[in-house]
Symmetry: C2
Subunit: 201 residues, 2 copies
DNA sequence: TTACAAACCAAGCGCTTGCTTGGTAGCTTT
DNA sequence: AAAGCTACCAAGCAAGCGCTTGGTTTGTAA
């Protein structure tokens, strides 16, 4: 009767490590990193709390790995979808759709952890994650600049700031968007386009 | 040499209760509700940890009061600024500016707590806070609907969803916007207008 | 000057936390 | 069959947690 946890990524649940990370993503989002205990996590994967530390040295290490996995997975997926897009409008749409998918799809719980549990990382881990995210962010900025050059984004718009607004807008959807209703992620992505592109789009 | 805490609201720091709430807003944002201990809080206001409970029954009660105070303060301020706005464009701008002020101004830390420490409230408190927020949210929806009727927002835009996008976009600014630079809050509000209003604005 | 309440301290209780330890079951390799 | 490795359990430790208790100081008012 409990909430079913989404898998972090396909096939990962075959190994103990993968099962722990998937359960951790679920628990860390639901209760927050601090409130979720190692004992909770151990129960979720069916082992004793001490056994967790056979697979990860510390609790923070589990958090760090959840974040690394979800960045890698979603960066790769977005790269793929960008290649399939034909024109610039299509590329912007691909970015929007891809990020909404990340936030609300199977990696949604892990994405929420990535965004909102930042404070629980130690500084060195924060630096590491930041560098991984920069690759992802650069893809956004490149497309936005192309769109601006093509006249799809107004001259006086700062694409740096625009990307930050969009980060917030799309990330927040995790708190209200419920998949399975009348509005699917593609439709939501179309709606979000009007935040970025000028005039009728 | 430590970070100076913004006051939650003017004059509140005169009473012990106010000093505790202001310090709590600062600590809860910096470390998260769970990680911030009552001992941390006591040290910040210069008393023993046990003395905190002379003023508040539980730690959660402190969190709840931080949230209530910040909602009341910002709802009232936004009401005021809405009255001063002349036309519809001005009203939308007033909303944007007001919320950016809430998030990045003197109530910024408390706003971050309101947004991101939701999980740490017990269900009954969540319900209470939700009802307070609904008044605030209704003001947004009313103005958006007026703007749509006036042709400033496109016909096919769902104002409900638009508000949610904007909530995320503006709320996220807490993580990147630093006051005191070249870009002040008014200028940022102007920039954010293009997310909402169609064409040149 | 006395009475009283609000504000606070010093000490610590009961519990939970992340993590450690020493050992065992079972599979794989030689 | 011996050795070695991965995956785990059972038990518990030291530290830190929210919160309580009993008593003391301090400001205000009669």
């Amino acid at each position: 009767m409990g909430t079913k946890a989404n898998s972090l990524l396909a096939g990962m649940e075959d190994t103990p490590r993968g099962r722990i990370l998937a359960a951790a993503a679920h628990l860390f989002q639901k209760k927050g990193f601090e409130r979720a205990t190692v004992r909770d996590l151990a129960q979720a994967v069916g082992m004793q709390s001490g056994s967790i530390f056979h697979h990860f040295k510390t609790k923070e290490e589990i958090l760090r790995n959840v974040m690394i996995e979800v960045i890698r997975f979603n960066t790769e997926r977005m790269e793929q979808e960008l290649k399939n897009a034909k024109d610039i409008r299509g590329k912007v749409l691909a970015l929007m759709k891809s990020e909404l998918q990340s936030v609300n799809g199977e990696t949604g719980e892990a994405m929420a952890v990535l965004i909102y549990e930042w404070r629980s990382l130690k500084p060195e881990s924060q630096q590491e994650i930041l560098e991984l995210r920069e690759v992802y962010e650069q893809m956004w900025l490149n497309v936005f600049d192309d769109a601006k050059e093509a006249g799809l984004i107004e001259e006086d718009v700062d694409t740096f700031i625009l990307r930050r607004f969009i980060t917030g807008a799309l990330g927040w959807s995790n708190f209200w968007y419920k998949p399975g209703g009348a509005l699917d992620i593609s439709a939501l992505a179309e709606k979000s386009l009007s935040l970025v592109l000028k005039g009728k789009c």
